[in-house]
Symmetry: C3
Subunit: 323 residues, 3 copies
Amino acid sequence: MKKMQQIKKIQKCIEEIPGAVPLFSRIPGVVKELVDACNRHQCFDHIGSAPIPTHEAVVDIIHRARRILFPGYFSQASLSPANLEYYLGQETTQLFEDLAGQITLAVQHECFQTQKSCTHCQDQGLEKAMAVIEALPAISRMLALDIKAALDGDPAARGDDEVIFSYPGLLAISVYRFAHELFKQDIPVIPRIMTEYAHSLTGIDIHPGAEIGREFFIDHGTGVVIGETTVIGDRVRIYQGVTLGALSLPRDAGRRMRNTKRHPTIEDDVIIYANSTILGGDTVIGARSVIGGNIWITESVPPDTRVILKKPELIYSDKGRKG
Amino acid sequence: MKKMQQIKKIQKCIEEIPGAVPLFSRIPGVVKELVDACNRHQCFDHIGSAPIPTHEAVVDIIHRARRILFPGYFSQASLSPANLEYYLGQETTQLFEDLAGQITLAVQHECFQTQKSCTHCQDQGLEKAMAVIEALPAISRMLALDIKAALDGDPAARGDDEVIFSYPGLLAISVYRFAHELFKQDIPVIPRIMTEYAHSLTGIDIHPGAEIGREFFIDHGTGVVIGETTVIGDRVRIYQGVTLGALSLPRDAGRRMRNTKRHPTIEDDVIIYANSTILGGDTVIGARSVIGGNIWITESVPPDTRVILKKPELIYSDKGRKG
Amino acid sequence: MKKMQQIKKIQKCIEEIPGAVPLFSRIPGVVKELVDACNRHQCFDHIGSAPIPTHEAVVDIIHRARRILFPGYFSQASLSPANLEYYLGQETTQLFEDLAGQITLAVQHECFQTQKSCTHCQDQGLEKAMAVIEALPAISRMLALDIKAALDGDPAARGDDEVIFSYPGLLAISVYRFAHELFKQDIPVIPRIMTEYAHSLTGIDIHPGAEIGREFFIDHGTGVVIGETTVIGDRVRIYQGVTLGALSLPRDAGRRMRNTKRHPTIEDDVIIYANSTILGGDTVIGARSVIGGNIWITESVPPDTRVILKKPELIYSDKGRKG
């Protein structure tokens, strides 16, 4: 017998067990308490207002965008020069419709929270979606340069296919470049769902608001954090565990520091090795500088500088003694 | 032609390729070796005993719990004040049944390993499932405070929706708070499957046995480890890469140190910045203290203390020379 | 009304909105630009050539391999000693066919890029797949030892089931051990898709080319990086955030350093605690040595040595003053 059937059978049995009946009678009390909490606004719910974007729909949009940006790599259809235009046309039209639908929901939802009605939400959804669609060719060109950067920078890379199929850095950057276009259109909620989806797959957390130049390469990537107001130039390369973050935040930072530049600026051709942390909105890493691994920097570094940690003192002891 | 069809066709062809026939004849030897290993107990298998919880069923339970704890955010159904009670009633009843089924399997499985028969497993499954269900309203209240903490602490947060939809910290904490209720009921295997599911999505590894107070906020979160016997007070905030772990473990730690307090205590209102590590069961970080980033602490810190790393010596060199 | 229906309805409406018509007319321009870029080889596409392995098919293969390597844990079927051989026989045959299909695609694709035709690709696919199948019993024995190592090393481990169901380290090692067999057969693209799939689930990034001995245990694991030319002995244990990586790479490292030993050698019985980094192809950590947490090592360490960081100077200040 299949396990699933066994499990179903067990669950069916529950309702016939003598002990189960008094237990079931305890559920309504729990439900009432949950409902009351929502009625008293002590829970976070999304009830009775306009529908909101769904995680699933946004993830679908990301995958469709990838199929357009890397034709033939992630699609079931076999592509040939003859059918490429037809394929891209169909996918792009569908992407526009899906985007317009989700963006409308996001805009509408925000609108309802403030003024309870919405006259231009659908127009805005359409306009913003089209602006994103029109950015696709530029994104495609940027990603081609990002792939080149991976091939140049990683001795373990065996070819374009391997980078496109399996490099988490490229996945995170692809999603970021797409989400950043939505962010520029001031679309609520969706850009962050997109980059957090990439974060969940890669461990690379790029805020959609960051500004990142050409030929960007992240190797390995787990633990990378790139904050909202970070600015990164061209041909920058970073490794796993690098944080480009904010200086220590006061307890009420949420309100006080919104919309200030809190994250660093990394100029062209900089390399930052694994697990280094660079903090602060006024911190600038000058062009062509190299930041060694495991370094904590809160002040600017001039161009053409190499920064390494003074060799930290290690204590070596024979394992007989306790070190 | 669709790629999948092509692939299917290739696979079908395999059986007709001349070279394939002698190859197929080598499979039985491999299978025999695999079977023999299991028969000699040299493999880990799960054969012939009671069915065990499945990863899929446990993940389903987590998603149902989230739909109850954040009504309207993750469900397909449109909710209104009129249908909320009906919706929560149905979902909660189903959650109870699913939980009771999986918990019964987990309890039964453990029971069979020691005594080969099980008289009270189903009753235990029901009782323990109901205890978890009855904790839902309290979990819901805790999560509302956790969301508030995220909005207070993160200047990049644009509203409740963004936090609920996309913050990995909230996802990890939600799953932890739910799994912790199962852990308190001494349910085997399932709580850890739950928190490891969250770990796989977020990079945040919270053991279900940890005890965590109100208004807990984890920002970014990748690389966070919170060990089994950690105790965390109210209004604590931690950043990516923070480990609350055990001091170095001897080789046979598995047996010798089970059930001892091995992980630190973090009192109320503490902030711990990115990539800091706090180790040891006797280590207490006193209330309102602030631990800077990149710090390694194995001793207690008094209340109201700020701890930062003495500015490590960095070596700056012109990039012409090799640093 | 179901949300999905609402969303569908919104999307349907889009085509009827007056403002939408002029917007739709802007899509062909975007599509033309995307097509032109591909025609001028300014995009990365996969058009008109042989079909390539798909991510989905490779992930299916991983899951089938896990069902064979841990019989009864991840399968729907209930197994008994009576049906075990039948079950393993069927699964192993299917795994062989799936592997042969995907490997043929990978080999063919690489072949086409250089010589436009392929005479032995299918034979190679079959032979290489069979070599992997014949390695299954040895992988199974290795994994049994890896599970033992987890139980020995982790005081929080409550039993085999918990380790097999939920330990990210075991998942990453299982996928690595399987992918490594493909890597040894010099199969393009697929081994890396496999280990990057595990990386996305666990935050543990093991290159399929690394060589890893018996009884390997990774605890927690997020942020672990094990580079392509790393060699690891028996009974080694490592913790979250450990990098076994390459020394700083020149900008054109991709070309210049391929196929050189760039990553360290870790001898038998070594323990490396959380967030330590060991770099360089000539770096050898001698047998039975213990490397403390948060350490940066670029030189060899003799056997039987304990290495810890000299207690870094911390600055403690009263929180009234700014630290």
